[in-house]
Amino acid sequence: MADQPIAKDPEKEKRKIKSVSKMKEIMTTYYIEAKTARETGKKVAWITSGGPVEFLIAMDVIPVYPENHGAMVGASKMGVDLCEKAEEMGYSRDLCSYARSDIACSVTNGGPIGGLPKPDFLVCCNNICGTVLKWYEVAARYYNVPLFILDTPFIHTEMSEASRKYVIAQTYEYIDFLEKQCGKKMDFDRMHEVSKLAVQGLRLWQEVLDTAAHKPAPMTAFDAFFHLALIVTLRGTKIAVDYYKQLRDEMNQRITDGIAMVPNEKYRLLWDNLPVWYRTKWLSDKFASHNACLVGDTYTSAWSGVMDLIDEDNFIETGAVAYSSVYINVSLDIMLETLKKLIKKYDVDGLVMHSNRSCKPYSLGQYDLQKLVMKELKLPTLIIEADMVDARSFSESQIETRIDAFMETLKS
């Protein structure tokens, strides 16, 4: 009887999200299509995670995201080797680990999928950070391909009329750029269709995240980190819409069936900043061991956070405002308002902030936000210092002590 399979723990099996296999299938197909674009005659564009991908979809270009790739590098624990490679090439250790690992992958064809497919052109939107400008310039030089930069001015209080006009004007330039690269005109009917699918996808993604407001939560922020990939990579397609419908329905069914992701959920926490990709399981287990569940986060809700600003019938103009208004392109005051809404919506007992060595725009101001949250909402907060991909910045015993101590204060 030696070859009899080991019996699975039915309790654990029950909590597994069934849609995961479909998600893996979609992502595999997506990357195969991107990697075989040369053979199928399709164009490939690299684009930043906060960039307006809808226009690429409408032009039938395959969008590829170095940042999503960076997350994969991190999750497959290949970050350190690749970051070291980039450092050997002369890139500073203080640079973003997505940028470092992506640049190293370009040169070595390393990483979990043997490097990204070569781009025909690049689209860089600086609504997420300033590093992407230099990173994409490096890629443009390395691959010798054209680069389009969409500059979204930072929003301090509200978007000025001048800024709005400036971003809209660039959106039209973006369309011109795409028409030139693809050798065909933009089909605005198709663009309208894509806009509708994008908004629909965003709404469904938000509905998925909202299910965690239920007590106990059917999913955690760690699950959201995984399922986020489609709203980034396939936004504006029916594939994303269909998938998130399936996922939302599964989550609602879990609520009906009383299935919680963290058994004995007692403490509900909100996560801030990007995930620590190479330690999601460890962190998830650590919090679960304290009966704590990360029910929401500022990161995965950043995409859908601006959906109400988009009018699908006027995507070009309203999209410009929405893209400029994403979570980290706005002042701390606006970020605090968003945080407060999330704290209220998910009814959390504490806030866990990841001070991410790589992501400066996300991490700058966290101490001020922490103070404001503690003062105005009397909510306990914890800051842990790490990095999203570079595991050399993760010190297990120090982080463990902080989490244990934080949970002790919540319990006392």
Binding site: P380, S393, T401, A405, E408, T409, S412
Partner: protein, 254 residues
């Protein structure tokens, strides 16, 4: 009820045994490479010291970095919570604790019940820790126990600008070669530690009265340097080094 607290730090292992709110005894040994063995040794030595048998202890709480390696402990609690409970036991008025141990420094704000309200710890860097002082004492060929007293003799503290322990050591060597007095260099070293820790303290917000705990509290130079940086007086108990173990023993009784 007899309870014990064991605090396994990176350099020393501490134990405290309490009976009904009274300290029966405390002990400090070097942790060495085997923290699990250090836990056993320190409790064995302490029970012998106060003529008690291990079986008479009703509950044990382990704390410190090696807290999960003490297999005979009833439970493990972090040193943050234990230092809060310990300081509150030693003086219920205390609202703020500065604990400088071997590999980390932490600041803890507590309420009137000794409950932790907020805390912060140094990260990924040994600056502002006991280890930093240890390395510097070695570079200057001074016995660590006398380090703080020599510090008090420094008239014009030398400027140590590097926060990296290794670079600061080179800075110290270059100061020696420039003819700077040992007293001034040592005073500068203590100021450097105080700067790091006071930044941490200000982040959390200092609330008086303040107590300093951990092994470095035995160093008068570090205490005075911190008092001047924070513009406050700092209380130091004779039990400062074993405060975490005392807190653990108190929590074992709850």
């Amino acid at each position: 009820m007899i309870t014990a607290g064991i605090d396994i730090g990176s350099i020393t292992a501490k134990a405290a045994i309490l009976q009904d709110g009274k300290i029966l005894g405390t002990r400090v040994i070097f942790t060495g490479y085997n923290s699990s063995q250090a836990g056993k040794t320190v409790i064995d030595e302490l029970t012998k010291q106060i003529d008690l048998s291990v079986e008479q202890i009703d509950a044990v709480v382990a704390t410190g970095y090696g807290r999960n390696s003490v297999d005979f402990a009833t439970k493990a609690i972090t040193e943050i919570t234990c230092h809060g409970a310990g300081a509150h036991f030693l003086n219920p008025e205390i609202r703020f604790i500065i604990d400088i141990g071997g590999q980390d420094s932490k600041v803890i704000r507590i309420d009137e019940n000794g409950r932790v309200v907020d805390f912060a710890m140094n990260d990924k860097c040994a600056a502002g820790t006991g280890r930093f002082l240890e390395v510097m004492a070695r570079a200057l060929e001074v016995d660590l126990d006398g380090f703080g007293d020599i510090c008090m003799q420094g008239k014009a503290p030398a400027k140590i600008s590097s926060i990296c322990t290794v670079f600061a050591e080179s800075e110290v060597i270059s100061l020696i070669s420039k003819g700077e007095t040992r007293e001034n260099i040592i005073a500068g070293i203590h100021e450097s530690v105080a700067s790091r820790v006071s930044a941490l303290a200000k982040r959390v917000g200092v609330v008086e009265p303040v107590m300093m705990t951990g092994g470095v509290a035995k160093n008068i130079g570090a205490v005075r340097a911190l008092e001047s940086k924070l513009e406050t007086t700092i209380q130091v108990s004779e039990y400062a080094q074993v405060n975490g173990a005392i807190g653990a023993a108190i929590l074992a009784g709850r």
